[in-house]
């Protein structure tokens, strides 16, 4: 990594970068402000980036503000980033046709996979993607749709130079510095970015952009900005094995406590970069001649999630929250050899009642006999 040349990408070259990517056949996607949040959508020009925008995130709170500094990446994250591009919220898996004799013909649903370049992903997004890769690609069965989209992805990552109140990627070891899975990584300073290629395609891109090396002062300044983001995080998961804390405390009174606050709404699942539960449904045609088998995002907080053989296994909020948290921070280790949590803090931000899983884990780690205020 230290051998890679650090370059200087001025703001005025951002549109050139988008043009080059589009010439290569990529659809360019990037962050914009919409509906009061940072949303990733088609990015046609650098103008559309969230210049001067910063986000204020607290448990159960998200709002955008405008600042005087005209930087494009003063915010941390929005509700979604890479996940909906690789693992679509809803899509057909296969189709079946039935003829007049009742004979069935099953057909895979193939799709044109667009090459997609995503500008402005964060370290937590890369970490979440790497975790989700373990579910859909590196496991016993490969999800071909996810795999194809993943192979056709070009990622321009941007290191965070501020941390939000809910960020704890330092604690999970996943940020704020981007260290893997990107084609190009940028760190913003005044008027531009210190840039570094992370892959052959990334190197080809910087070659095409014909940009100069970054000077030493800029490289140092960029690093100090990322270090500042790392130093200023306040939330953390406990040291030691979080998996053991969870599995050793399955009867802790804290589960009752959180169940009284949790609405079982599933927002946390919707915004989590690693959650992968999905429901398979059947959509038959009205004339009965065909049917489509689809999948769509699901959540372990729904009644249907644990329904089988005529009954619901998790019929209360307490067991649902317990399922979600034990999976995220404990069972994930057994399944995929890593934590399911990458410290992005989205679940804390987007929870309507502001449940903070770092606090929940801290409470579970406490002996139940100790008095709290």
């Amino acid at each position: 990594m230290t051998d890679k040349q650090k370059l200087w990408l001025p703001y005025r070259k951002l549109d050139t970068m988008l043009t080059v990517l589009r010439n290569w056949g990529y659809q360019t996607v990037g962050p914009q402000t919409r509906d009061g949040a940072i949303v990733y959508d088609d990015l046609d020009s650098a103008d559309e980036l969230p210049w001067g925008v910063y986000d204020v995130q607290n448990p159960g709170e998200y709002r955008l503000e405008q600042s005087e500094d005209q930087q494009a990446f003063s915010w941390n994250n929005g509700p979604q980033a890479i996940k909906p591009l690789l693992f679509k919220p809803k899509e057909p898996l296969w189709r079946v046709e039935r003829d007049d004799n009742g004979a069935l013909t099953f057909k895979e649903v193939t799709e044109e996979v667009n090459k997609t370049a995503v500008i402005g992903v964060r370290a937590c997004d890369l970490a979440g993607m790497a975790v989700q890769d373990r579910t859909f690609i590196d496991d016993q069965y490969v999800d071909e749709k996810y795999q194809k989209r993943r192979q056709n992805l070009f990622l321009v990552a941007v290191n965070c130079v501020y941390s939000g109140n809910n960020c704890f990627c330092v604690s999970t070891g996943d940020g704020p510095q981007c260290t893997h899975s990107y084609d190009l990584v940028l760190t913003e300073l005044t008027d531009g970015f210190v840039a570094e290629a992370g892959s052959e395609s990334g190197q080809t891109l910087v070659d095409e952009l014909d940009i100069a090396n970054a000077d030493h002062a800029s490289v140092e300044h960029a690093q100090s900005r990322v270090d500042y983001a790392a130093r200023t995080q306040t939330k953390k998961l406990p040291d030691g094995s979080v998996r053991d804390i969870i599995f050793n405390n399955l009867d802790h009174p804290q589960w009752e406590n959180v169940a009284e606050r949790c609405l079982s709404c599933g927002n946390c699942v919707m915004v989590c970069p690693t959650c992968f539960c999905h429901h398979e449904t059947e959509v038959p045609s009205l004339d009965g001649s065909s049917s489509e088998h689809q999948r769509q995002w699901d959540s372990c907080f729904t009644a249907g999630h644990s329904y089988f053989g005529g009954h619901v296994l998790r019929d209360d909020t307490k067991s649902r929250y317990k399922q979600w948290l034990t999976h995220k921070l404990a069972s994930w280790w057994d399944q995929f050899g890593t934590s399911g949590c990458i410290g992005c803090g989205r679940c804390i931000t987007w929870c309507p009642v502001g449940i903070d899983l770092t606090e929940e884990v801290a409470a579970l780690a406490q002996s139940p006999n100790q008095e709290h205020e």
Binding site: W94, R98, F136, Y141, V142, E280, T281, C300, S319
Partner: protein
Amino acid sequence: MVKRPANLPQQAEIVHRDEEAPKVFSLHLRFTESSVHNAYHFYPGQFNMVYLFGVGEVPISIVSDPRHYSLYQHTVRIVGRITQGLSKLKQGDKLGIRGPYGHGWPMETAKGKDVVIITGGIGCAPTVSAIRYMMNRRHDYGRIMIVQGVKHSDDLLFRPYYEHWAQQPDTEVRLTADKPGPHWPWDHRLATEIIHELGIIRPQNTVAMMCGPEGMMLACVKPLVERGLVEDNIYLSMERNMECALGHCGHCQFGGQFICKDGPVFAYPTLKPLLGRKGF
């Protein structure tokens, strides 16, 4: 690790259909394409995702002996929409099958050992394949002891099979019903009590295979261990909501295990920490 792409169902047709008990029926199937049929291999304890056109898929274990079948058999209990729809299918009707999935019974591990099979209700179906397998290779296995419990005597499935197996050498069959009808010739106690009477003569070399309501399986572990069985040799077939059968949709999780691909058959020690806990 074998990587396979996500599977597509293949068409199979119902060659014949039997009513086994109130709300329980068997479908005897053949893949329409003979090349698919000939290439299809399964192991006792594995399951297929059975697709009913326009309605959806359900996981159903395969009841046939993997080496002695021309048709393969699924025995289904009506519990919801899809199984209700499957119950209305007739000879000649078509459905979709994808599979087989999962880890089956430890037939290799059990070779040369005595085997105890304990099942309750429709749980007997996943073990029928294993029993048939052993009966067709009788000398590869030692004593076979079968306990099948039902709620009501009318619920007994496969009576002819059990009566046939009871005649086999070195084989003990114990049927029991909580609510026996007037002509019920067998037992009415719980499986847990019957375990104490089984002819287990070399417990360290006895493998137990169980399938049925979770509470029943958990309750049976204690008497089996009291009879001297080793926990590692006690196997349970688990059931959860399975939708994809590939370990991707997340519904079938039991703690860190995906029932569809890490199971459905598990050695008891794997399940022990969470078995019986509410919500898992």
